[in-house]
């Protein structure tokens, strides 16, 4: 009897099957729907309608701006945290890291709901009534709250890997703390920044649960559009999804996300 031999290629089959059925085929379906009309004839009408409609273009702009602000705030908060954590000699820094990462393990809808209730509470206080209608502020706040761990973790793992002797060399050669930070820490943590940015920027363009729950559904981002169009008009919905895909692709490419650098998204937790 011949014993079947498994090569490494055979082991790839499950993932290849998954890739074909759940990644490639759906993409083709989206492409097909985006360029057909209701009678399934090839048509560019959705394409033309999309790019001639100021509302849709504006929504993309708004989503980009919201995502950009969220990312910048996350970066500003996460960078010092990651830096301190990576450089501290505390024995229990694991605990502090856990405190930042722990919220990630609690259901996301639950957290957004809790935040909503907190805002309700605050907006009933004197002087804070304006909070009830500050929909954009609340949306960005919610997104920052949600995506912060995704920024901290890659930054932390990258900074942890920076060789300590580089710092020593820098000081030995007469560089001050600022120069060392600018010329050693920042350049060497760039891979972490890039992967953190992609992991925050992309979901915050589409995560309409946050904008619906915290923005009183008065803030519309591109993800909500896709959802609403898929209620009645799949073709337009697919077109919006396709445009978003291209925006995401271009921004990932520009930020160097496709370079085969060391994978820094893997985390210690």
């Amino acid at each position: 009897m011949k014993i079947p031999r498994f090569s490494r290629k055979t082991l790839c089959i499950p993932y290849a099957v998954f890739l074909i059925f759940f990644v490639i085929v759906p993409m083709l379906v989206i492409l097909f729907y985006a360029f057909t009309d209701r009678n399934m004839h090839i048509s560019f009408s959705n394409f033309i309608r999309f790019f001639s409609d100021p509302t849709k273009l504006s929504t993309i702009v708004y989503s980009l701006v919201i995502a950009l602000i969220t990312t910048v705030i996350c970066l500003v908060i996460a960078f010092p945290v990651a830096y301190i954590l990576a450089h501290s000699r505390m024995k229990k820094k694991f605990v502090i890291l856990m405190l930042f990462v722990l919220p990630m393990w609690i259901n996301f809808v639950l957290r957004v709901n809790a935040l909503r209730e907190l805002f309700n509470l605050f907006s009933s206080l004197d002087g804070l009534e304006g909070l009830a209608n500050a929909n954009y502020f609340k949306t960005v706040f919610g997104m920052v709250y949600d995506f912060l761990p995704f920024m901290i973790l890659p930054l932390y793992t990258t900074m942890l890997k920076i060789d300590r002797s580089l710092y020593e060399a820098s000081y030995d050669l007469g560089a001050g703390a600022v120069t060392t930070f600018v010329r050693i820490t920042i350049p060497l943590s760039m891979p972490g920044v890039m992967s953190g940015v992609t992991m925050v920027f992309l979901p915050s363009m589409t995560n309409y649960v946050v904008s619906d729950m915290l923005g009183n559904a008065k803030v519309t981002i591109i993800g909500k559009f896709i959802y609403e169009y898929f209620g009645t008009d799949w073709h337009m919905g697919s077109m919006v999804a396709l445009v978003l895909l291209i925006v995401v692709f271009v921004s990932t490419w520009l930020s160097g996300g496709f370079k085969s650098e060391e994978n820094v998204r893997g985390t210690t937790l």
Partner: protein, 561 residues
Amino acid sequence: MTRKQLGASIAAALLFLPSLSVLGGCGAKSAKIVLRVYNWEEYIDDGGSGTFIYDELHELDDEGNPITENGKHVHIDSDIVDENYKAWYRETMGKELSEEGPEILDDFCLWYEKEYGQSIRVEYSTFGTNEDMYNEIVLGNEYDLLCPSDYMIMKLAAEGRLEKYDESFFDKSEKNNYYVRNVSDFIADKFENNAGLEVRNDENGEPILWKDYAAGYMWGTTGFVYNPAYVDAEQLDELGWEIFTAPAYKGKITAKDNVRDTYFAALGVTYQEELCALQEALEAGDIDSAAYISEVTKIFNATDDETIARVEPNLMDLKENVYSFETDTGKADMVQGKIWLNYAWSGDAVYALDLAESGADEDGEDSGSVLLNYYVPEAGTNLWFDGWVMPKGANKQAAQAFVNFLSMPQNAMRNSYYIGYTSVIADEEGKMLDYAKYLYEDEETDDPVEYDLSYFFGEGASITADIEQATCRQLYAQFPPQSVIGRSAVMDYYDEGASARINELWARVKAETLDAWAIVVICVTVAAIAVFVLFVKFGAKIDFGRKPKKGYTLVDQKPLR
């Protein structure tokens, strides 16, 4: 975890998977017949605490939680789940009524096997919106029974996706035809004339009657839940639909986060004067009630460009004015007092009123008792129905049996209690009227009024109720008086063109639109940034014809690896 353990847990997970495919339901796995029901979420009695039988037979505190004594629940006698009810249950299901509240789907399986001699299994799944359900059907998911709303019934029927009910279903002499014997004449009428709307088959243009394709389940109106502590009822009467754009209520009112209901409301805002003029004409006798209602229906279903152009600015004002677009947070916001007015479906309104009165918020925490009211604009509102339809290829016999089973008044009560909406059932024996009386009759009140419900329950039916109940509270919401029904319009379905126009309108309203120049500026900026980034990345590789500095020579050097 050892490898063995891992293997065992994976095997267990795989074994568990098939059972996930059945969302709910009942009956033995071996049952020959399977009935696949696709219904709204939370739209059927699912047994246990919080359902009719359980709540009637247990002593409850103010918040609806059972009271315990010595660790045991206190059982009480109910006026409505009485010996007769228990006897009916015994006879129908062939077993004793459990005080813990049986599930209605389990009961159906018992009844079906008893009546038709075959075992049956119900596969019950739920949807969140009519559009979700429609997509599932179009994708080819198979069900035997669906519960869409009026306009979706029309759309499905017009597209030829539905089976007709059998003629035998309408035979009143047949014992098990509970639906046709018990349905209210008011509902039956509406289903016979399509509530004044014309539906035609898309293929052959033949007229379609709802009655042939749908059996009613629940119905109601839309209106406003309001807090009388902040909102003056007289002012509300004066403003009507314009309450949505009234600056006095800015940030204190909510609209629905779906285009159908909010567009309807915006039509109300826009055409309030026309609607009131029609009403005056009706009162003066210039037009008859049929002409009046068809005009109202026409106004509330207009989707032409001219109408949209008129509605759009009002819809924009509405967006500015409302606190939020919501689908289910309105009730809690209302009870908490964060908003004063909530545009709501009547059943949700009843629920919110009950909740506020009991002094509990949705999580059952005490936040003080508040009395809320329900208001329907004078100019007219939306009258809606949810009905059972059978998609093509359904098991008609089992599906119709299910509809009939739910139409027994004893079961209609259970569902109505659980859902909070109004059942279409008004049986001749008056069991449903008794139920309504049980909920709302109050002869000891200081201001009793005779609340006439003859249009629904048949001649002479009325409830002696408190004047508040009859004019602005739960009774008024759950069983609207004829005056409200008389000025309400049913939603028509949108054809392709209308659907596209309305979607675009909704997108314009929900999203912010920038000026054209701003978009151009932003696009140019983005392009410039992209070019800059590209330049930084690849700039070094491009030779711009740079000359080496004086005294240097250019050497072609490969970078070090």
